[in-house]
């Protein structure tokens, strides 16, 4: 018959460059790995060519050597441990205060009116500038480091948590009310549950903020920790050691972030992105 094709049409595969397109998991991982490999190769070639003074940019081998040195003859693990403790303590303190406060700001307009402008103002205060005051108020112990990390994360966290709560669909709340739920029941059984995946994501993001405030925190009369080591190395121009400190923080961040994403998928299979 004329006009009827015996061969099926060749359908072109979907372009990788479709806006909001899709990507297979293996290909995603391959591209992600490529970026690290490229960065490492570029770093290695620049240092191997000898055009840059190792004082400004140490080679990858030097950095690995320094890491080994720090781990075996010095106390890399103790420094890492105390830094993780400080970040976690400051972060946990922020979260313990921010989650209930954010929940109530998202639930009740008078609470929002009272806190929100105050928090928006506080959010812009530079945590670094508070260092002398923190020293004065919290002393030179662990409390001062934890306070700096709290200052750097808490205000952002409350506002983001209250946004998560505000995003709970109105009809979920109103359905509960017309079934006879009290305010407390709406908060516990609807707002908190519905906003939980968003809150979990907020905590994952703000944990990253907490790490960025570590170096600031360890400027405050510290004698241990990764941030402290970085600052010390600056004094002695040990750029390779600075690199080790930065890379260790980066690796810890990457691992916790991936871990929390995994837990998120397990805890909230219904919250698709």
């Amino acid at each position: 018959m004329e006009g009827v094709k015996s061969q099926p049409d060749q359908v072109a595969p979907r372009s990788l460059w479709t806006v909001r397109g899709t990507l297979s998991k293996p290909l995603y991982r391959f591209i992600a790995l490529t970026s690290f490999v490229l960065l490492l190769t570029a770093w290695w070639s620049v240092t191997a060519s000898g055009i840059v003074d190792p004082m400004f940019l140490p080679s990858p081998q030097d950095v690995v050597g320094q890491a080994w040195n720090w781990a075996t003859t010095d106390n890399l693990f103790a420094d890492t441990g105390i830094s993780i403790y400080r970040v976690m303590a400051g972060f946990a303190l922020s979260a313990l205060m921010a989650v209930p406060l954010g929940l109530y700001i998202g639930a009740f307009q008078p609470v929002r009116a009272f806190f929100e402008p105050l928090l928006e103002f506080s959010r812009y205060l530079p945590a670094v500038a508070f260092v002398p005051l923190v020293l004065l108020w919290a002393g030179i112990g662990e409390a001062s480091k934890i306070t700096v990390i709290w200052l750097g994360t808490f205000f952002q966290m409350v506002l983001m948590i209250s946004d998560d709560v505000s995003r709970v669909p109105m009809s979920q709340i109103e359905a509960a009310r017309t079934l006879g739920a009290t305010n407390g029941e709406v908060i516990r059984k609807v707002l908190l549950r519905s906003a939980m995946p968003g809150m979990f994501d907020t905590l994952r993001l703000t944990l990253g903020f907490a790490w960025t405030y570590l170096v600031v925190a360890e400027m405050v009369a510290a004698n241990s920790g990764l941030g402290y080591a970085i600052l010390q190395s600056q004094r002695f121009l040990q750029t390779d050691r600075i690199f080790v400190g930065i890379i260790v923080i980066g690796i810890i961040g990457l691992i916790t972030d991936q871990g929390l994403r995994f837990i998120h998928r397990r805890l909230f299979p219904w919250a698709k992105k």
Partner: protein
């Protein structure tokens, strides 16, 4: 047997008059549909009856008891996004059983009722599925079952089938008529679809805007509803006349000669 009474009810939002002098009664087992042009206040009226909005003045009572807020005697079904996505179908249906308002009620009876509702709504097969695994029509069945679980005297429905395709709507229409037969709740139903209103309701109330007021009330006197009835002359007469009323009150009659002049350049 309960009676919902709305009398001389007014609602203003600041300087805007949303509803003026609304009178309406609804009895158990009755189905009343509210229709009207957009902005006529039909959803506002439903939300006031549900206790989600306050009235500015006027009477709103059930069996002589004035209504001041939401309550499980008036469960509401929304257009969309009202299910709890972290709960399974059966957990959504049983949601109200976890609330203080239901404490002290017989637990075995409740389990039996939840199963009966799943059966009534054709949800037994998806009992343990999550809402995001269901189609839009199935999700609305869950929302209706959840509202009925509270054994409300009145079921308030705010364009519940507005987001569904035509075929699914037809299935839902016959389902909700079946619910009306078995459950005996009074149903107050907001829709912009006149055919839906005529097919489902015992009475159709046409609201008109600026400010929202009752324009006319139509007693629908039709035999047993079947899909074929939608093509019967008496059905089409109701549909035509009510549609004409809505058009006349909306002030949105197109000036065709002006359009033609525009097209002609």
């Amino acid at each position: 047997m309960s009676t919902l009474l709305v009398s001389h009810l007014n609602k203003r939002f600041g300087g805007f008059e949303a509803l003026r002098d609304i009178d309406l009664t609804l009895q158990s087992g009755e189905f009343v549909a509210l229709v009207g042009a957009s902005g006529c206040g039909k959803s506002t009226l439903l939300r006031i009856v549900g206790g989600l909005e306050t009235r500015s003045n006027g009477v709103l009572e059930i069996d002589g008891q004035s209504i001041t807020g939401p309550g499980h005697d008036r469960a509401m079904v929304f257009q969309d996004y009202s299910l709890y996505p972290w709960l399974s179908v059966i957990e959504n249906v049983r949601f109200c059983r976890g609330l203080k308002a239901y404490r002290g009620q017989e637990a075995n009876e409740a389990i039996r009722r939840a199963d009966l509702l799943l059966d009534l709504m054709g949800l037994t097969r998806v009992r343990d599925s999550r809402p995001d695994q269901l189609s839009g029509g199935m999700r609305q069945r869950v929302a209706i079952a959840r509202a009925l679980m509270a054994q409300p005297d009145f079921l308030l429905m705010d364009e519940p089938f507005g987001a569904l395709d035509t075929q699914t709507r037809e299935v839902m229409h016959d389902l909700i008529l079946h619910v009306k037969e078995t459950e005996k709740s009074g149903i107050l139903f907001v829709t912009h679809d006149v055919e839906e209103a005529v097919y489902l309701a015992d009475r159709v109330v046409v609201l008109a805007p600026h400010p929202g007021h009752i324009d006319s009330v139509w007693h629908i006197d039709l035999p047993k509803r079947t899909q074929d009835l939608k093509l019967a002359p008496e059905f089409l007469t109701y549909k035509r006349e009510i549609t004409q009323r809505i058009r006349a009150t909306s002030g949105m009659v197109s000036d065709l000669s002006a359009l033609e002049a525009l097209a002609a350049g």
